[in-house]
Amino acid sequence: MERTLRWVPLVWPTMLLGIFFAVPFAIMVAVSLFHRQPGGFFEPGFELTHYRRFITPFFLERLGVTIGIAAAAAGAALAIAVPFTYLLTRARRRTQVAWLIVILSVLSLSEVIVGFGWSVLLSRTAGISNLLVALGLLEQPRPWYPSLYGMVTGLVYVTLPYAVLLLYPRFSRFDRQLLEAAETMGASAPRRFVTVFLPVMRPALIAALIMMFVFVLGAYVIPQVLGRSQHWTLAVLITDQALFQSNIPFAAAMAIFLLAVSLVLVWLVVRLTRRRGA
């Protein structure tokens, strides 16, 4: 009796995670195989129609755009995050805490607010181009969005804080003695960073890059606010199919696809970092 009672506290979490997380996912998998009722919802069935649409040019083009954009944004964010985090972990503790608050605030900022902020920054009437006109670098102010560059800038902005938080624990546990050894042997600071620090951190950097890639795959608002419709990513397409084209089975099939891709990538990260830990 007492042994059974001991597990009572786990009933609540099991119920909630089961009913409101596991069950919805199971239903979603089932629905991706259901038959679509045009104009309405769906009816039970078993067909691979929705998965077959993956090999149409329509879907492949979206997929290509999504991968390209996610890779570009993740790569750029990593390039900024690596030197920044490296310096951050070497700063004083108080400086670190202050930066972490800024980083966390930006990370938790709604994608909508970020999108809005950048749309103002890139706008003709209030944006950066006015600054360039004032400096005499530009003839007259112009709008810089919607555009591919504007959108990628926005995506780098949301990914950068995530990148810093992914790298921060690894970088702060880095063995300083390696750098000190290099210093006594006469290596300059940039040289120590490139020839000692980066090679040691390589697995962590690749792992972070993959996690960031998955993170950008989820972007939904920024492509719509800052990009053109031809730059819209899979996440936008899924929502559009589910809510506005009422093609829920196809949306579900795409979500399962995105899920599978993300899981494989995360699994890769786990393998990559585990081998290093061993």
Binding site: F41, L100, T239, A242, S262
Partner: protein
């Protein structure tokens, strides 16, 4: 001289991160409805305007209430799971832990669609409580990681000591463990609260047409053109987030917390 590159990088990254926030704060002070920067006829008029426009106050209320309740749901799930993982190495609890972490790592649109289909299937579509549960489950990862970290910081000796003195499991839990883990519980709650407040896509897919949260309201209005109130509410939400995160930094060790938020543990 050696510090120059560091200073340069810090300044550039700082400018990049702050630029959209500064400009939003700036345009919120414009006297007229026009979108110009630097602001002209500087005034707090639009802040006053917000106080008297129910169209904006209602979504703010929704967002705050959803964040308050869903963070509670998240903590109520995370507390027993994290405790059982730490105290009993329970296999079931560890499975729940993995399940709880996963939604947060995946693109949120997947969860959003899952929740949408679920509520449509059970015929309980577009309700307020759906969003609370959806956010609660989605954000479990945050209190899970902070709480487990908090428990791991407690020496097992103190738990053993309590037991040898005859304290029951329950007494030991709420007199020894809980007070020690409290900062981590608060941090987990706070992170979940702030993220729920700012979350868009899941809330939108669950009940975007019936329960308008603030991010949904801003996004909807963006399509109809600019109004300075958007900037005002953005500033307001930014201030709330910063205040809560600064509070977390006060009650717990932020550098240690961030060391734990890596996806895998050594």
């Amino acid at each position: 001289m050696r510090r120059l590159p560091a200073l340069l990088i810090f300044t550039l990254v700082g400018a990049f991160l702050l630029a959209p926030l500064v400009i939003v704060a700036g345009v919120s002070l414009n006297g007229q409805k026009r979108l110009v920067f630097p602001p002209r006829e500087v005034s707090l008029g639009w802040y006053g305007e917000l106080a008297t426009s129910p169209a904006w106050l209602l979504p703010i209320g929704h967002s705050l209430l959803i964040a308050f309740l869903s963070a509670l749901v998240a903590v109520s799930i995370a507390l027993p799971v994290a405790y059982y993982v730490w105290r009993f190495h329970s296999r079931w609890a560890r499975a729940l832990y993995g399940l709880g972490i996963s939604p947060f790592i995946l693109p949120p649109v997947i969860c959003g669609l899952g929740f949408l289909i679920f509520w449509a299937s059970v015929g309980h579509f577009g309700r307020f409580e759906n969003v609370v549960l959806g956010h609660g489950v989605f954000l479990v990862a945050l209190p899970l990681t902070t709480l487990l970290l908090g428990f791991e910081g407690i020496g097992r000796e103190s738990m053993d000591a309590a037991e040898t003195m005859g304290a029951s499991e329950w007494v030991a839990f709420h007199t020894v463990v809980l007070p020690l883990a409290l900062p981590y519980l608060i941090s987990g709650y706070a992170f979940a609260f702030v993220l729920s407040l700012n979350e868009y896509i899941i809330a939108y897919m669950i009940a975007g047409f019936t329960v308008e949260t603030l991010p949904i309201k801003i996004f909807n209005s963006l399509r109809y053109g600019y109004t300075p109130i958007m900037a005002v509410v953005s500033v307001l939400f930014l201030l709330i987030s910063v205040a809560i995160l600064a509070l977390v930094a006060r009650v717990s060790d932020l550098t240690r917390l961030m060391g734990a938020l890596e996806p895998e543990r050594k």
